[in-house]
């Protein structure tokens, strides 16, 4: 699946997007954050406080306990500050 990062999550990881292949036991948005955190120092830094990270699956907001299902795009970002 494609992972996309925004704002300081993007800056900390140092990438705009990438293809990721989490193992089958990673089933929810929250588990995906935990798995990504273990992919290196920059990921651990970006996700050091998982509770503030927002997740969108295929461009729709989801809670951390939402199943990944067949999502092809997972986006990770801080709370929005538009408007």
């Amino acid at each position: 699946m494609k992972a996309i990062y925004f704002a300081w999550v993007r800056e900390r990881i140092g990438k705009t997007e990438e293809d990721i292949s989490p193992p089958a036991q990673v089933r929810t948005a929250g588990e995906l954050i935990a798995w990504l955190s273990a992919q290196g120092e920059e990921y651990a830094y970006a996700f050091e406080n998982p509770s503030v990270i927002r997740v969108a699956l295929d461009r729709a907001h989801v809670k951390h306990d939402a199943p990944l299902g067949e999502a092809r795009e997972a986006a990770f970002f801080p709370p929005m500050t538009g408007g």
Binding site: I4, F6, A7, W8, A56, R59, A60, H61, A75, F77, P78, P79, M80, T81, G82, G83
Partner: protein, 156 residues
């Protein structure tokens, strides 16, 4: 009537013309009694800021704003809704966001515009980064609890 409203939603780098957008909703009509226009501007925070840089999630930004606009149309008797959000570097005093609502009745127009802005603040995927006058590119603007509270009061 509600079903016929097609919200106008745009996410763009260019500036917008609030008056022209409002005129598009009302022109040639005699059934609209109230138009509320909200314009959000870039503040310089006491002279500290040279600019705000707005990052967004292309595609999702339009979808999320359209979703919120559709919710407003379902909840209030609106005859027109326009929401425009800019991205990119924006100078102090320049416009960032526009919401226009048109209705037969003022309370619906006011409430829907307030709702749209509360939801844009907390749901639309935009992030603001500060650029300081001293040349440093500063912090990402933190989300405020007040905005969550404001959005929460609509109970959706």
């Amino acid at each position: 009537m509600t079903a016929q409203v097609m919200p106008t939603v745009r996410v763009q780098a260019d500036d917008f013309d609030a008056a022209a957008e409002a005129a598009l909703l009302t022109q040639g009509r005699t059934d609209i009694g109230a138009v509320v226009t909200f314009t959000g501007l870039c503040r310089d925070e006491g002279g500290r800021l040279a600019a705000l840089e707005l990052e967004h999630y292309p595609g999702m930004a339009e979808e999320e704003i359209s979703r919120v606009a559709a919710q407003a149309c379902a909840r209030w008797p609106l005859q027109g809704v326009t929401a425009i959000h800019r991205f990119g570097k924006i100078a102090p005093g320049a416009q960032i966001v526009l919401v226009v609502t048109a209705s037969s009745h003022r309370v619906a127009a006011f409430e829907a515009a307030t709702f749209l802005m509360d939801y844009l603040k907390t749901r639309a995927p935009f992030w603001k980064k500060e650029h300081h006058k001293n040349g440093t590119s500063g912090e990402w603007v933190a989300a405020t609890e007040a905005d969550d509270v404001a959005a929460g009061r609509w109970g959706t």
